[in-house]
Symmetry: C2
Subunit: 236 residues, 2 copies
């Protein structure tokens, strides 16, 4: 199944990069069948119609794939390396995530922020991972969310912060997931959240959760947390 992404529903034409991929890599031509999603659940079966460099298509079947009956939101303070943030977005998308919010926390270096979190690039990576894992919903990616206002505005059913206070045992995120509801999980930066930030989150109704016995890097923590939530939702 050759799945393509075209966010504009009425264009009936692949974007330049995808057009090139269809002809140069997959060697598809006029008359071949492709599938196109808008990243919002629409799945279209299409017939290719190639004219010079323009790769158009005609929709022959169309269906709306329902959303999952739960929602996973990962809010994460970016790592200092662009590459690791990009890996994280790819893996979160593959595993299943509705939204990825990049936080600006006290231990975030504002000078490097725009370099390490490039929203255009991250969207492209998410689109590619969505297609690769054959999903039909694009995660929404937001950047530059100030920690304090972000947690005050959070409205998910379960609001969790990955943080293990010294000498305290907290439950694993897996055990804190409520079925068929929305879960927001906050993941701290290298150097973790500040005490003030953790306290602020607790005041706002967040619960601290553990991600297991080993100390994980930021991007690994995000992936493990996202996977645990998906697992808890998916098991009957």
């Amino acid at each position: 199944m050759h799945l393509f992404y075209q966010p504009h529903e009425n264009l009936f034409e692949l974007d330049e990069e995808e057009a090139k991929h269809s002809s140069k890599v997959l060697r598809l031509g006029s008359g071949d069948i492709i599938y196109v999603t808008n990243g919002k659940g629409l799945l279209q079966k299409c017939i290719l119609n190639v004219q010079a460099r323009k790769v158009g298509y005609e929709v022959v079947e169309s269906s709306l794939i329902p959303r999952r009956n739960f929602e996973v939101v990962i809010a994460v303070a970016p790592t200092r390396k662009a590459e690791r943030n990009e890996w994280m977005v790819e893996k979160l998308t593959e595993i299943g995530v509705e939204r990825i919010d990049f936080l600006v926390s006290e231990h975030t270096n504002p000078e490097t922020l725009n370099r390490v979190v490039n929203q255009v690039r991250l969207n492209r990576i998410a689109a590619s991972a969505m297609k690769q894992s054959q999903q039909y919903y694009m995660p929404v990616i937001t950047v530059n969310n100030k920690f304090d206002t972000f947690i005050k505005d959070a409205s998910e059913d379960s609001r969790l912060i990955a943080y293990v206070p010294e000498q305290n045992k907290v439950e694993h995120v897996f055990s804190r997931v409520r079925k068929n509801s929305s879960t927001l999980l906050l993941i701290g930066p290298e150097g973790d959240f500040s005490n003030r930030e953790v306290e602020l989150a607790l005041e706002q109704g967040f619960s601290t959760v553990s991600l297991g016995p080993t100390r994980l890097r930021t991007e690994t923590a995000a992936i493990a947390g996202c996977h645990a939530i998906n697992l808890a939702q998916g098991l009957s």
Copy 2:
């Protein structure tokens, strides 16, 4: 806690790269406290003794950290990109794995194998991830395991293969883990295992398991599978 890796117990000296890290990055000098592990459970508290470029240490306390009471083994057909295999080893180590076996399966390209699976580099990455996540056991990494002989020799308590036959529903790996025992999970390459390989595994007593509803890349599948096994073992 500054943790270093020195596999040779009687050398009492950091290797070149670690020595450089201790002085140039961490700016440690004679008299400072470091911790050294041999990657086999030995944890030593040491006092640094720096003489020119030689970074020696004296052990002041020593303890043997017990192994976990379960074992996770991931056997995976390498992806075609060295970078993805390296990332996978880093993340598996962080999450917790006793052994990583790279398989040569029918859909493995033998020509690129040595380029994409460099054991020396992978060991270095595992050592770094072990230190970073503050663990004291190095995963054992083996390469060039021929699929057929590998599965015949496998002796783990649970032997699982991530494979979802068409029109069949199989249980998630999470549900197939037996407490306090060893689990081997096979992860296929891009293009998956061949039908013959899957049949051979089933003949040898392997069970097919699912890794969830989305289609995961090889390295993501390995990480998700490893994480699910750790999770199932860790929850009381």
